[in-house]
C-alpha cells in the first residue's frame, strides 16, 4: 500500500529523483531526501526493527534520531539508525540483532519468557554452579549486542577540520535563527549548525500549516543566508561541548573541532512518550514524528488515529493529520479541563471527538503485533490513575502521543549549565549558566512560536553583549504564560507488563518499581541497575519519565530527585571520525636514508627509527652484530647517534643549574672537558644519564638518552622556572646530526678531515672541542661509551650526510664499518656501562646501580639529594653486578628479565645479556642481592621455560678494566 501523499509545500523529498533500495531483502523505492524509516512507512512497512531484549516489533517512533527502534546494517557499516539514514540507490540493509530475519525473528520467543526476566534478572541467576557461567555468559553475549563488526573492512582515514567563531548557535529552529540574526547584526561571527539536513527545526513540521509562521520562517532564513557574518551548516551535530567552548562538530564526512567564544543552545526539546500498555508497537509514535512524516516526507502516517494529548501541540498535530486526510477518531486529553485555547474549538469544528480527562490504557495489537488495531481509552481519576472499569475501545491503526517535552540540553550541561525543574512548564529550565553560555527557545521553556523567536533574539543580543559588541538594553525574556506544555506524570498502568519507559532497553514501569523495591532508590543507582538511559539513544526519550517515576516512588520532588550527568556524545560518533588520519610522529635522523641504502635493519626506538644492525648476505643477525662489534674493537666503526638528546644550557647560572639537575659537580668543570652526569627524581631514582660538555664558562652542551630526551628537556624547563635561575635551555636534538667514530683507528680516520689537533695531549679523553670536520662546524667529544678510542661528532643536520660519508670514505683504508644499536649495546655491556631504563627500573637509585661515584661530594643540593641522604644510611637490597657464563655450555641461555633464584627465593634479575660477545662467552648485567654478589660467586638463573642456567658473578667492566683503550 502506498502511503505517499501528493506533493506538499516544504517537503524534503525530491520527487524528481527516485531511489531504489532494499530492506530485509525486499526491493523498494523512495525518493532522494527520504530516510529509511520514511521510505519504508511510505510502503506501509511498519515493522522496521526489533527490540533489544524481548525482540518486540518496533516501528518509527521519533523520526528524529531520538529513539533507537530501527537499527540496520549493510554488511559493511553497522548500527545505523533508520530515521537518520538517507536512502541512496543500491542501499541494501537488514535489521540488526535478529535470528532469521526481521519478520520471522526466532528470538521473538524471548517475550514469552518475560515473566522470568524481570529487571536485573541476570544478577540473580546463572552464577551457580560456577562452571556453567561461561556457558550462560556466552549465550547471553550472543543474544545481546546489536550490529556485527566486519573484520574485513579497510581502515578509513578521515581528515579533521578546525573552525573558529564568536558564537556557535546550535539548532536552526525559530530560536536559533533569531538568535543567530540578532548576534550577527551586532557584528558577531556566527556559526549556526543543525543536525537535520535543512534549517528550520519545528518550523518545518509543526508550523507548516500556519502561513504567518511560514512567512516569518522564510524571512529569517533569507536574512541568515544573506548575512556575511553567519555561516549555516546543516547535517552537522554538535556532538560534545568541552572546556572553553571547544566543540566537536560532526557531519557525515568529518569531525570539525571548533573553538567558539560563546555558545547559544537553541536545541529545542525531545518530545516525550506517554507510558501505557504496548506504547512501543509500530503505529504508536510521537505526535511530532507523525507531523515530521507528514510534512517532511509527505507520507500519511495512519488511516485512522487516536491522539493522546496534554498540550496545545497535540491539537495542532491532530488538525494537521486531519488536514492530510487522516481520520482522527478521538483526542484523548489527559487534562480534565481539556485544551484551554481555541484549538479545542477548531478540533471540534473538524468533527474530532475530544475526550477530556482520558488516557490511553493500551494499544491493542493486531496478530503478530506488527500493527495496532485499536486504542483502549480510559477515563482518569482525579489522582491521575486509570479508571480501568470504563475502558472504551476505539478502532485505529495509529496513536500519536503529545504529552510533553524534555529539553535537549546535554550540550549546555556539558558546558557547565545547571538546570532545575520548573512547574510552570513542567520541565527542566536553566538555573545557572556560565559566562558565554546561553539557552533559548523551547530548551529554555519558551513554547509559543513568537516567544521562541523573541527568546532567541534576546539570547543573541546577550551573547553580543557578553562579547562586548552590544551595550543597549537587553530585552526581557517572555515567560511561558499558558498551561504547562508537559504533563507532570504521563505514565499509566493497567497492570499490563508492556508499558515501556525505555524502549532501547525494554524497561517497563514495573522494572522501576521493582528496582526501587530492591533499594535502588536514587537516580544514579536506578540508572545503573535498570540500565535506563544507557542504550544507544542515551535516554533521550526515557530519562525524563524515569525521573518522574522515581520521584513519585520516593515521594520526592523532581528537583530532589535530580538527574544523571550528561556526557558526550549527543549522537554516537564514528571512531574513524575521531581517529582522523592517525598521525603518529615518527622521527628519522638525517642519516636515515643512508642506513636504508646500506642494508640496515631499522628498528623503532620510541618515536625514532634507528639501524638495529646492517645486514650482510650469508650472515645471521647475531653474526652481523658480533662482526660489527669486533670491527669496532679491532679497527674502527661509525654509528649514528643522532637520536641522542642534545640540549644547550646557557646563561650565568648554567653551571649552578646543572648542579641542581645532576648529582655531580659542574661549577669547577674546565672549559673543553666532559663529565658524566646522572640525574635523579625527587625520590632519588635515576631518570637520566648523559655527558655534559663545557663549551664556555656560561655554556654547556648536554646529551640525554634517546628515549628520555623529550621528557628530560621538559623537566629541565620546569625546574629552571621553579629555581628562578638565569639559564636558557635550547633543545637542539633535531637540529644536529650526531655520529660516534669508535675504534683504535678512529684518530687516523678523523685526522685527515679536521682542523683540530687530535694528539692525545691536545685532545685527551673526556675532552671537547668546537672544530671543523669535513668542512662542517662540529662539536667533537672524546667519549668512551663503547670502550675504545672514540670521537662523537655533532654537526648541523644539513651537513650530517656529508660528514658521515666523508668519514666512511676516509675510513675505508682502515676497514671502517657502520655499526648499529645492537652492536653498541653489546660493546657498552662489555664495558659495564648501564643503560637507564634497561639496567635501571622505576626504583633504582645510584647506590645500587654502582654510580654513586657520580654524586658530588658535599653538594648542598641536587634534585633527589634529600632522599639519597636517607637511602645512603640503609643497607642495599640489591646491586648491579656483572655475570659471566662459560663459553662452552649447554641448555638455554636466560633472556633479559629472567630471575635469579636462591633457595627458592627471587634474589635478582638479569637486566642485559649478550649471548655472544667479543670476549668469546656470554655476559650479562644483573641486579643481585648484595650478600650473594661477591665476584666469583655462583648464581642460578631460571629461564623462561622453567629450566636453570648457571653463571658466575664477574667484575665489571668485563673488557679493558683499566680503560686503557679509550684513553
Amino acid at each position: 500500500m502506498d502511503r505517499r501523499l501528493p506533493p506538499r509545500e516544504g517537503e524534503w523529498i525530491d520527487r524528481s529523483q527516485p531511489v531504489e533500495f532494499r530492506f530485509e531483502g525486499q526491493s523498494l523505492a523512495g525518493f532522494a531526501g527520504d530516510v529509511l524509516s520514511s521510505a519504508l512507512w511510505a510502503h506501509d512497512v511498519r515493522l522496521q526493527g526489533r527490540s533489544f531484549k524481548y525482540h518486540r516489533p518496533r516501528g518509527l517512533y521519533s523520526l528524529a534520531g531520538h529513539d533507537a527502534n530501527v537499527i540496520v546494517e549493510d554488511g559493511r557499516r553497522t548500527n545505523m539508525r533508520g530515521d537518520l539514514l538517507p536512502i541512496t540507490d543500491g542501499l541494501d540493509v537488514y535489521s540488526v540483532n535478529t535470528s532469521g530475519g526481521l519478520q520471522r525473528d526466532r528470538w521473538r520467543i524471548m517475550e514469552r519468557f518475560d515473566r522470568f526476566l524481570p529487571v536485573g534478572f541476570y544478577y540473580k541467576a546463572f552464577h551457580t554452579p560456577r562452571w556453567l557461567f561461561p556457558h550462560y555468559e556466552n549465550q547471553m553475549r550472543q543474544v545481546a549486542g546489536l550490529g556485527r563488526v566486519h573484520p574485513g573492512n579497510a581502515a578509513v582515514e578521515t581528515p579533521k577540520d578546525y573552525a573558529f567563531c564568536d558564537l556557535l548557535v546550535v539548532g536552526a529552529g525559530p530560536a536559533g535563527l533569531a538568535g543567530a540574526i540578532a548576534a550577527a547584526e551586532q557584528g558577531l561571527k556566527v556559526l549556526l549548525v543543525d543536525e537535520q539536513p535543512h534549517p528550520g527545526g519545528s518550523l518545518n513540521w509543526q508550523w507548516s500549516g500556519n502561513p504567518a509562521a511560514q512567512e516569518q520562517f522564510g524571512g529569517m532564513l533569507e536574512q541568515v543566508r544573506a548575512h556575511d557574518n553567519i555561516e549555516l551548516r546543516c547535517g552537522t551535530q554538535a556532538a560534545g561541548a568541552y572546556n572553553d567552548y571547544w566543540i566537536a562538530l560532526v557531519d557525515d564526512r568529518r569531525l570539525t573541532k571548533l573553538r567558539a567564544k560563546a555558545m547559544l543552545v537553541a536545541t529545542g526539546c525531545f518530545e516525550q512518550p506517554a507510558v501505557f500498555q504496548n506504547n512501543d508497537l509500530p503505529g504508536v509514535m510521537l505526535a511530532s514524528a507523525a507531523q515530521r512524516l507528514l510534512q517532511l516526507y509527505a507520507v500519511k502516517p495512519f488511516d485512522r488515529a487516536v491522539v493522546v494529548a496534554a498540550n496545545s501541540d497535540g491539537y495542532r498535530a491532530a488538525l494537521d493529520l486531519h488536514g492530510a486526510g487522516v481520520e482522527i477518531a478521538a483526542i484523548a486529553d489527559l487534562r480534565h479541563d481539556g485544551e484551554p485555547t481555541g484549538l479545542a474549538q477548531n478540533a471540534a469544528d473538524a468533527g474530532i471527538e475530544i475526550l477530556a480527562g482520558c488516557a490511553i490504557a493500551e494499544a491493542v495489537p493486531s496478530g503478530g503485533k506488527a500493527r495496532i488495531q485499536a486504542a483502549a481509552v480510559c477515563p482518569l481519576e482525579k489522582d491521575g490513575s486509570l479508571r480501568t472499569g470504563s475502558l472504551r475501545r476505539i478502532e485505529c491503526d495509529g496513536i500519536a502521543m503529545s504529552v510533553g517535552w524534555s529539553p535537549n540540553v546535554g550540550l549546555a550541561y556539558q558546558a557547565g549549565g545547571r538546570f532545575r525543574y520548573a512547574e510552570h512548564v513542567a520541565q527542566l529550565v536553566p538555573s545557572s549558566l556560565p559566562d558565554g553560555l546561553f539557552v533559548s527557545g523551547r530548551a529554555n521553556g519558551r513554547f509559543e512560536l513568537h516567544d521562541q523567536i523573541a527568546d532567541g533574539r534576546r539570547a543573541g543580543l546577550c551573547a553580543a553583549a557578553h562579547l562586548g559588541r552590544f551595550d543597549g538594553n537587553l530585552p526581557d525574556s517572555p515567560q511561558h504564560q499558558a498551561s504547562p506544555p508537559s504533563h507532570p506524570y504521563p505514565i499509566f498502568s493497567n497492570n499490563g507488563k508492556k508499558n515501556f519507559v525505555d524502549l532501547d532497553e525494554d524497561l517497563h514501569l514495573a522494572d522501576f518499581k521493582n528496582a526501587h523495591q530492591e533499594g535502588y532508590d536514587n537516580i544514579e543507582l536506578v540508572k545503573r541497575f535498570t540500565t535506563v538511559g544507557m542504550g544507544p539513544s542515551q535516554g533521550k526519550l526515557s530519562n525524563s519519565n524515569a525521573i518522574r517515576i522515581l520521584a513519585r516512588l520516593n515521594g520526592a520532588s523532581i528537583n530532589e530527585t535530580g538527574t544523571t550527568t550528561s556526557r558526550p556524545f549527543y549522537q554516537p560518533v564514528r571512531i574513524s571520525h575521531l581517529a582522523g588520519r592517525r598521525f603518529h610522529p615518527q622521527r628519522r635522523t638525517p642519516l636515515d636514508g643512508w642506513h636504508r641504502q646500506h642494508g640496515a635493519e631499522m628498528m623503532h626506538a620510541g618515536a625514532w627509527m634507528r639501524p638495529e644492525f646492517y645486514t650482510t648476505s650469508g650472515s645471521t643477525r647475531d653474526e652481523c652484530i658480533l662482526a660489527e662489534a669486533k670491527n669496532v674493537r679491532e679497527h674502527v666503526g661509525l654509528i649514528d647517534v643522532g637520536t641522542l638528546g642534545k640540549i644547550l644550557v646557557c646563561g650565568p647560572d648554567a653551571a649552578r643549574f646543572l648542579e641542581h639537575i645532576y648529582t655531580g659537580r659542574f661549577e669547577k668543570q674546565k672549559v673543553g672537558r666532559l663529565r658524566y652526569g646522572v640525574a635523579c627524581d625527587e625520590t632519588g631514582v635515576i631518570i637520566e644519564d648523559g655527558v655534559i660538555a663545557r663549551l664556555a664558562e656560561d655554556r654547556f652542551y648536554v646529551s640525554a638518552t634517546s628515549s628520555g630526551a623529550a621528557v628530560f628537556y621538559r623537566e629541565m624547563q620546569r625546574w629552571a622556572l621553579i629555581f628562578g635561575m638565569k639559564v636558557t635551555l635550547i633543545n637542539a636534538t633535531g637540529h644536529l646530526a650526531a655520529m660516534n667514530l669508535a675504534g683504535p683507528k678512529s684518530r687516523e680516520v678523523l685526522a685527515g678531515l679536521t682542523d683540530a689537533d687530535l694528539s692525545p695531549d691536545a685532545f685527551p679523553y673526556v675532552g671537547v672541542k668546537e672544530a671543523t670536520v669535513a668542512g662542517a662546524r662540529a662539536i667533537v667529544m672524546r667519549v668512551g661509551f663503547v670502550g675504545e678510542l672514540g670521537y662523537e661528532i655533532h654537526v648541523p643536520a644539513s651537513q650530517g650526510w656529508h660528514v658521515w660519508t666523508s668519514l666512511m670514505e676516509a675510513g675505508r683504508p682502515h676497514n671502517i664499518r657502520p655499526f648499529g644499536v645492537e652492536a653498541q649495546r653489546l660493546l657498552r655491556l662489555e664495558k659495564g656501562h648501564l643503560i637507564v631504563g634497561q639496567d635501571t627500573d622505576a626504583l633504582t637509585h645510584p647506590f645500587e646501580a654502582d654510580v654513586a661515584w657520580a654524586i658530588g661530594k658535599d653538594k648542598p643540593f641536587f634534585i633527589g639529594s634529600r632522599s639519597l641522604d636517607i637511602v645512603k644510611q640503609q643497607s642495599l637490597d640489591r646491586k648491579l653486578v656483572g655475570l659471566s657464563f662459560p663459553a662452552h655450555r649447554s641448555g638455554p641461555l636466560p633472556q633479559e628479565c629472567c630471575l635469579i633464584i636462591h633457595e627458592g627465593e627471587i634474589v635478582g634479575r638479569i637486566t642485559s645479556i649478550a649471548p655472544a660477545s667479543t670476549l668469546g662467552h656470554p655476559i650479562a648485567m644483573a641486579f643481585l642481592r648484595p650478600d650473594l654478589a661477591n665476584v666469583g660467586a655462583k648464581v642460578t638463573i631460571r629461564t623462561t621455560d622453567g629450566r636453570t642456567a648457571d653463571a658466575e658473578v664477574a667484575a665489571m667492566p668485563f673488557y679493558d678494566p683499566d680503560g686503557a683503550r679509550q684513553k
Binding site: 557499516r77 548500527n79 557461567f133 544514579e524 558526550p568 556524545f569 554516537p572 603518529h584 625520590t683
Partner: protein, 414 residues
Amino acid sequence: MPYRLLKYALHKDHPEPRMFRAPERLKEEYDAVIIGGGGHGLGAAYYLAKEHGITSVAVLEKGYIGGGGTGRNTAIVRSNYLTPEGARFYQESVDLFRDLSREFNFNLFYSERGHFTLAHSPASLNTQRWRAEVNKHLGIDSEVVDRAFIKKTVPEIDLDAGGHQAPIYGALYHPPGAIARHDAVAWGYARGADQRGAEIHQQTAVTGVEVRDGEVAGVHTDKGFIKTRKVLSAVAGWTTSITRMVGLRTPLVIHPLQALVTEPLKPWLNSIVVSASLHLYMSQSSRGELVAGASLDPYELISMRSTLDFAEGMSAGMLDLFPFLGDVKILRQWAGLCDMTPDFSPIMGTTPIKGFYIDAGWGTWGFKATPVSGKTMAWTMANDHDHELIKAFNLSRFGRFQLVGEKGAASVGH
C-alpha cells in the same frame, strides 16, 4: 534457563526484598565508621561483620554507593603484577573474586577472558617477561607469548598496527584476566554488609574527623557528630580531603582518567587487550559494548570532565589495533579520579593516628583489589595492626624509602 528465574514467574509481586536498607538517621556511636561507600569501603564493612563480628559499623557515602572509582573503571581484574608483594596481594583478590558471585548469591558477571599486555618494543617485552617470571614464581598463570599466539587468539588484531606505530613484538598473556560488572560488586558487598548489621548512609558527607591525643574520637558529618574509635578512609580520589582533616601527609597526587564505550555490538572480542604504547586497554562487555580506557590525563586535576583529546586519541589507538572498527560509533565518554602514588602501589593500613586507617593510593588499580582490600582492611581494623598481605603498603614506607615499584605493571604508561 535456570530454575531460579521461575520464582519471578510464579509470584504476582516482585519477590525481592531491599538489597540494603536506608537507615533513617545516624546513631550516636559506632564501633567503626567507614568513610566512602565504594567497593572498598563496603567490602571492609562486609568483612568486619562477617569475619570479625564487628557489626556496629556505619558506611558514610556523600553521594551514592559505588559512584566513584567503583562505577567508573573499566572493570578489569588481574594479578600479573611486578613485585612479589603486589602479585600476592592481587592474586588473593582474584581468588576472592572468583567465588564472590556464589558467596553473595548475586551474579557479578565475573568473566575470565584472558588478558594481553601487548609489547610494541623489545624493551617492553623485557618488562613483560619480568612480570611473567615473577608471576610464575608465585604460581600465577602468566606467560610471554609471541605474535603467532596473539594472532591465533585475537585473529582480528593488526599486529603491525597499520604501520602507524611500532609493531607488536609479543605480549604478556594472563589467562585469568577477567572483567566483571563493577557496580554489582559494590551492591553485593552492600547487601552482605547490611544483612549482617552494618548501616549504609548515602548522601551523608563527612566534614571532619575528631582526633584527641593522637586517637580518633569521632566523625563530624553534615548530619551530625558520631562517636567512634575506629575510622577507615576509603575514598580514593578524595583521600586528600580526608587526610587533611586529620593532618596526615601523603604523597598522593590526583589525576583524571577517562574511558568510553561504543554502541553494543555482537560479540567478537573475547580477550582483554592492553597496549601501553597506544595508551589503550579495551574489552567487550557482556552487553556487547567495547569498553576502553586510556592513560591518565597528564595533569593534576580534581575534575571529572571529559576531553575531546581523549576520545580522539583512544579512537586512533583502537583503529591502530583493529582497523576495521572505523564505522563503529562511540556512545559515551566519562572520567574518574585517580589518587596516584609514586610507586604505583596503594597506601593501606594503620597510620600514626591511633584508630585512623587508610585505604588509598588506588590510582588505576583499585577495582581489581576490591575484595582483598575489604578483607585485609577489615582484618587490620579489627586487630589494629597491618594484615600480612598489606604490610608492604603502609604509608610509612615513603619515609623509609621502602617502595613497592609497580610502575612497570601499570596497565598503560601513566
